[in-house]
Amino acid sequence: MTDWTTLQGDLADQGYIASDDLAMALHIAMSLGRPLLLEGDAGVGKTEVARVLAAAKEQELIRLQCYEGLDAAHAIYEWNYQRQLLAIRAAAEDGETGASVERRIFSQEFLLERPLLQAIRRAHPPVLLIDEIDRADEEFEAYLLEVLSDFQVTVPELGTLKAVSRPTVILTANGTRDLSDALRRRCVYAYVDYPDRRTELAILAKRCPEVDATLAGQIVGFVQALRKEELEKTPGIAEMLDFAAALTGLGVNDLTRDPVIFQASLATLLKTQADRAAVPVEVAERLAGKAA
């Protein structure tokens, strides 16, 4: 047994079925100490990888959710202004000199660590998840490159803070915009696709063991068929699990038996008006019939 299959096994113990591609990319990224870039549609379990990896390795998970306009103050560090103000006032009353006040209020004590700085300052290396990097703007990408290549952060008032430990970095993107080549080149890459039938059955069995084999086969067959339809929002793994949970909650054990409940539970899979319209009752039943 080699390392990457062990890793795959560890992830499976945590309830995550990783494809060979993904497990290998993760293994390589961790062995080389490089960030791992995961791309794929929404709902294929990219974010989940980081959570599960942290759990499997018993590491802390630090998450940075990206959004447009994310800046250094929210991603790296910020000064604790309120405390600084109080400290200055207190110092003025005590008659402390300007230089020593300045030294004191611009010390680590007054620094608020944001996720990126937190991640490199932990004694025990954490898993750093940078979620939806493509939502942040290019300036932030450039910051990130700097932090990820040097593993150090420079605070003008304080000097350079070096990494205490190197976090395992996982970046996710779902193609809102193209990422820069520089970032891609620095990362190990894996494309996460929708799982095949066998994998999806395994996921369902892991996550909802109460679903019996026949129904599980029907659910997976139906969801897989649904993914082939032209939909605005293709149902992901989370949706499939919700669907399964809804059906078991409603006490259904055969998809084709109760059309009313079946139609109602489609709400967990089809999440826009257009998609509901695109899959009318007959189509859904035909797909379910085929899956059965």
Binding site: H27, I28, E68
Partner: protein, 395 residues
Amino acid sequence: MTRVTRFAARDSGPSARVSGFLGHLREHGFRLGVSECGTALEALTHVAAQDPWEARLALRAVCTGCAEDADRFDALFDAYWMNAGRVREKAVPDGTTQPARHTHNSREDHGTRTGAAGKAHSPEGGDGEGETASEGTGKLVASKLKNLMKKDMREIVSPDDVRAAEAVARRLGQAIRDRRSRRRKAARSGPRIDLRRTIRKSLATGGEPLALARRHRPDRPVKIAALCDVSGSMMLYARPFLAFLSGLMRADPASDAYLFHTRLVRITEALRDEDPMRALNRITLLADGFGGGSKIGENLDRFARTYARRFVDGRTVVVILSDGYDSAGPDLLDDALKRLKKRGCRIVWLNPLKGWKGYEPVARGMAAALPHLDLFAAASTLDDLAALEPELVRL
């Protein structure tokens, strides 16, 4: 196992083979630098590299960088490593094999080049295509076409035109600003207080923040990438558009310009020539095939795949100057614009025909493009372009 490529005995070892493989990927359009070779080798030390499946997975993780690469990787891997037991003579070319390799390459290149040029260069062939392709554009154009084919760019555009266009381009460049910035910058006045600077200043007044520093969201200039259609059907409008392009290049150092007909040519550098007339002369040389048929979809697709990756980002406005008469189907155009749009840019299409009374965007290409456009406007003269200013401000 028998399918694995055998390497010649005199081959210089596994690292040479891996670097040969990276070269193989590079030849197929993967963007891999020198350092990736080291990374690939290092990655292989962490897996059971003698197992083809493991080596494949490991190399895929390191060598691919986007979904397209990942798709193509398997075929390229097979071609190099699983060559059905055939002997690969040399993994890496050394000095002595260089000449042979060179001729091989140039033969290949030459082959494709003549293939492409066959359409673009030959006057008759090109002409005929241009006419049939842009059918419905009127005989007037066809008769002018021949003259212009022989004409020099300098006869189309005069220095005065360029000067006038420069002023227009500068104004338009100022008009299009990026207002979406959420990033804040220190400023004299603004809606938000800059606490960091305020605290620093307050040290001077004993912790009393008397002077409040502020921050605001600045507007940023955008880059303009202009693509001008110079196919037969567009020849009537070449004058204002070319003047506009050269004016734009002179007014705004961040902008970018391209011409397309059957091919796509980047003319940014040429147009930045100090002497505006010499600049036009230079593009005359670049743009042969001028006035031929138009392949809008194909060219935009090429643009989206190549130059756009380097020059187009979320702060770019892509300006397309074309009448939308495409000799190929609309699907390619649709895909190309979708791909371009994904880079986060805004797309403006200026169509000279739109100014015509009763014009409907019936050209199939135009109809396919409409849903992707941020602005679709008429422009056939320099004055029209200048008049677009208020619309671009709203963009």
